[in-house]
Amino acid sequence: MPKKLLKQLIDLSFVNNKLNQKRVERIVRLLSRNELKFYLKGLKKRERELSVFIDNAMKTVGIDEMFKSIFPNRKIVVNINPSLLLGLRITDNDNVFELSLKNSLDKITSYLEE
């Protein structure tokens, strides 16, 4: 099966930006081993693209709702990451927004080193 077609199948596996189990089960039965590998990789990539990862230095109530309004139709995944010291790190696909104390301190250190 050509890769272009497989990519279309990956698109069709999502309904309203959510993975549809029934569709996936139907598609998987039709694919060869190599095609399946490509398909699964594509699904993972798409899943990652549809998610926004929030690294938070401490547990904050209501952070999910806040980011859901900023990123509508996206899955919000919140992780607690104490190494940030204070603040947030938002990873949206290949863009990273760093708003943490650790980043500020790192920046000051490298600035002074220069």
Binding site: D94, N95, V96, E98, N103, I108
Partner: protein, 512 residues
């Protein structure tokens, strides 16, 4: 040393911090998907641009080389054994560049500007991009100043001008690098003092895919000859990553451009472009680009044309600087019609062709004058050398033709025999030892003395000794002749008479 107080340091740091802005960091990152043969396939990096420098987690540097729909291909400039699948890649937002300054003179660096000579890192200088569009026609002017190699055969018959691209082509072990090194040695400012109109030349030697021992030998030779003070060595050796070998000539020309912009004249030697083409072929094949003739990619011509187009003579309005490029191409079994040699021959403004037969018969430099040509250098030649070289070419061509005839053993008339004998002496006088470049007046002396027929009665075997002693004699007893020949003006009748007189005097005192 003055004591530095802690308070002063704190004050300095506080002062620096007042101008520091703590902004949120926004990064475009990627992830390693595959690492094979020095090429990284990465996902993400959607904002990366072609030729951009990227950093890996452990500080390794890569260069974006392919932008695909789903992934980005990056060539590694460092060793990449520690790069694993899933590692993060950061964009730098910069194209690859090198710091160029006067500090580089006498230094040995790699194409990233990292010192290979164990000395201090170069921190100051102009940031020069490795890839750059060559100056346009409006900024250029015709080649009109000679770049003297100090090699009689080249300066007289295949002259090189500043801003020219002259190819040295031949099989391995025929003395291609030797010609290039002699040319560098000949640019020594003290030598050039004889000609006051000439600006000093900064030399850049780019070693591509060569053995470290060979490069070390060349550096040693340049140091011995005092030529390293005005030379910069850019080396990407055979053991370095192939990407560095690919980048080396571009790094060399980027440094050259920095000097040229200041109105200086630069000589750059690419040793050699065959290995450069091999490096690019390797990268292209690993990247999966379609292979063409001899498995080279489709843009192999552009690889060298964009590099050699950067050799230029700028007009006065743009500073009047120049870059003279001497690329070297190694042929296999004397085949100059192979893919890369024909490409580079067509790009350059002439070629110096070295032939194994000549080398084996003891003619060194083994230049085949018939197949060698300089398309623009003639305009740069001084009138003095031009007045002797025109006759030289003709006499040599006639000699070659007659010598071929004489091989049949048929009886020849006296005039023909004389011409053959003259040709033998001409061939002998054009021989030159390595690392012994000559000043232009001495080159003219050597050629003139044979053309004028004054050495026809001297045995061919004695010619080298005669030449050496003749130079010494004229230098000590007739410095005015050297002065007249140094002026670059056409040799006038008075000088010819003086020359004849001096030569006859010398012939009386010399015992051969």
């Amino acid at each position: 040393m003055a004591d530095i107080k802690t308070e002063d340091i704190i004050k300095q740091l506080e002062k620096r911090l007042t101008s520091f802005a703590i902004d949120a960091k926004v990064e475009n990152i990627g992830q390693v998907e595959k690492n094979s043969d020095g090429v990284i396939v990465a996902s993400g990096l959607s904002e990366a641009i072609m030729g951009e420098k990227v950093y890996f987690e452990k500080g390794e540097i890569g260069l974006v080389f392919n932008l695909n729909e789903d992934f980005v291909s990056i060539i590694l400039i460092d060793r990449g054994e520690n790069i694993k699948e899933g590692d993060k890649i950061k964009r730098s937002g910069q194209l690859l560049s090198i710091l160029a300054s006067e500090e580089l003179k006498g230094r040995i660096i790699n194409p990233l500007g990292i010192p290979l000579d164990g000395k201090l890192k170069i921190k100051n200088g102009e940031d020069m991009p490795l890839e750059r569009i060559a100056p346009g026609v409006v900024q250029r002017e015709p080649v009109d100043t000679p770049l003297k190699t100090g090699i009689k055969a080249i300066d007289s018959m295949i002259p090189i001008g500043r801003g020219q691209r002259e190819l040295i082509i031949g099989d391995r072990g025929l003395g291609k690098t030797a010609i290039a090194i002699d040319t560098i040695i000949n640019q020594k400012p003290i030598r050039q003092l004889t000609d006051k109109n000439q600006k000093p030349v900064i030399c850049i030697y780019v070693a591509i895919g060569q053995k470290q021992s060979t490069v070390a030998q060349i550096i040693g030779k340049l140091k011995d000859q005092g030529a390293l003070d005005y030379t910069i060595i850019v080396a990407a050796n055979a053991s370095d990553p192939v990407s560095l070998q690919y980048l080396a000539p571009y790094a060399g020309v980027a440094i050259a451009e920095s000097f040229m912009q200041k109105g200086q004249d630069v000589l750059i030697i690419y040793d050699d472009l065959t290995k450069h083409a091999w490096a690019f072929r390797q990268i292209s094949l690993i990247l999966g680009r379609p292979a063409g003739r001899e498995a080279y990619p489709g843009d192999i011509f552009y690889l060298h044309s964009r590099l050699l187009e950067r050799a230029v003579k700028l007009n006065k309005k743009n500073g009047g600087g120049s870059i003279t490029a001497i690329p070297i191409i190694e042929t296999q079994a004397n085949d100059i019609s192979a893919y890369i040699p024909t490409n580079v021959i067509s790009i350059t403004d002439g070629q110096i062709y070295l032939q194994p037969d000549l080398f084996n018969t003891g003619i060194r430099p083994a230049i085949n004058v018939g197949n060698s040509v300089s398309r623009v250098g003639g305009a740069a030649q001084t009138a003095a050398i031009k007045s002797v070289s025109g006759k030289l070419r003709l006499e040599l061509a006639q000699y070659r033709e007659l010598a071929a005839f004489a091989q049949f053993g048929s009886e020849l008339d006296e005039a023909t025999l004389n011409q053959i004998e003259r040709g033998k002496r001409l061939t002998e006088i054009l021989k030159q030892e390595q690392y012994e470049p000559l000043d232009e007046p001495l080159e003219i002396l050597s050629i003139w003395v044979v053309i004028s027929g004054l050495v026809d009665n001297i045995p061919v075997e004695a010619i080298p000794r005669f030449e050496k002693e003749y130079h010494e004699f004229i230098k000590t007893h007739n410095p005015k002749i050297i002065e007249a020949l140094s002026s670059g003006e056409k040799i006038n009748e008075t000088t010819v008479k003086q020359l004849q007189q001096a030569t006859n005097e010398f012939k009386k005192v010399v015992t051969l």
